[in-house]
Subunit: 149 residues, 2 copies
DNA sequence: AAAATTTATTTGTTTAAACAAGTATTGTTT
DNA sequence: AAACAATACTTGTTTAAACAAATAAATTTT
């Protein structure tokens, strides 16, 4: 949909500005669709992402550092997101024996079975873009890559 | 820069997923550059956006509703962002005489002169995308518009 | 071996998003 | 005019980003 109409702005200072706002606005659009997919499972996007990283490691544990490395958002406050997963009994934490600074985080059975129930989320999230063809997606990825020098 | 390298993920489930993550990642990239531009003025992005809306109305006032309408993020908690602008003496609030439910918000002289000092921020923010040509930007905007049905 | 540095994580604080609920005022019905 | 609904906003709560500072353990330097 046309950006000008959507945000009730008749024109932009520059095509640069328009693009920046368009990326922000489109990201919000996708993010809120994704939140909708997760809301019935009472998980936030960040909690879901971390749970999936933990499943990727299972049956091994993952340290806070490892999780941080795999997160898109390097500034995430993993410690306190993990706290919330532990309250929900979806993850557990213990200290490493070999290095007692390290927190070893592991997904619980409850966490695994929740993710199992959520398998459709992936397919549904792909559907957000299902009206774009392969050429569109490739071009979009190429242009976005170009932005980040 | 190549997304796979940047987020240390060898491949994506689908081109859909890759695009969604690419938009999220690129938006974070731009947003953090923008935050850097604002940080020396001790303003957050939301505070800056609201201040600019208020300047657009000056010397008239703007109600919370009007500001909300002009914000990209309709869920923004304008009341409390305005509270912070008032603490910084960049805006002031009084109740409307004609409708006492309505809060009339106005940018202060201090707010105006701060924005004046910040005029370069616009040019600098355009620079974030200065290595893209007109064709790139147009195509990008077109594809992003297509996403939002 | 003690001191200094680095690493891994936690804690504290401010800001803001998301959502629900509350309050005051205005407008509309009956 | 009283009852009601609608509105404009405020307040409360949880979650999380951003950033700085603190803590504890491990490693390196002296």
């Amino acid at each position: 949909m046309n950006l000008e109409q959507e945000i009730k702005q008749s024109k932009f200072r520059s095509e640069f500005q328009k693009t920046i706002i368009n990326i922000y606005y489109t990201n919000s659009y996708i993010f809120s669709k994704f939140q909708d997919l997760l809301s019935e499972y009472k998980l936030t996007v960040q909690q879901y992402n971390i749970l999936r990283i933990l499943r990727g490691q299972f049956p091994e544990t993952a340290s806070i550092g490892t999780i941080k490395e795999r997160m898109l958002d390097k500034n995430s406050d993993i410690t306190r997101i993990i706290d919330r997963l532990i309250i929900k009994q979806l993850a557990e934490r213990k200290n490493s024996i070999s290095d007692r600074r390290v927190a070893e985080i592991k997904i619980t059975k409850k966490g695994l079975s929740l993710l199992k129930k959520m398998d459709l989320v992936d397919l549904k999230s792909d559907n957000i873009l299902s009206h774009l063809n392969e050429t569109d997606l490739k071009k979009l990825n190429e242009l976005l890559d170009k932005i980040r020098i």
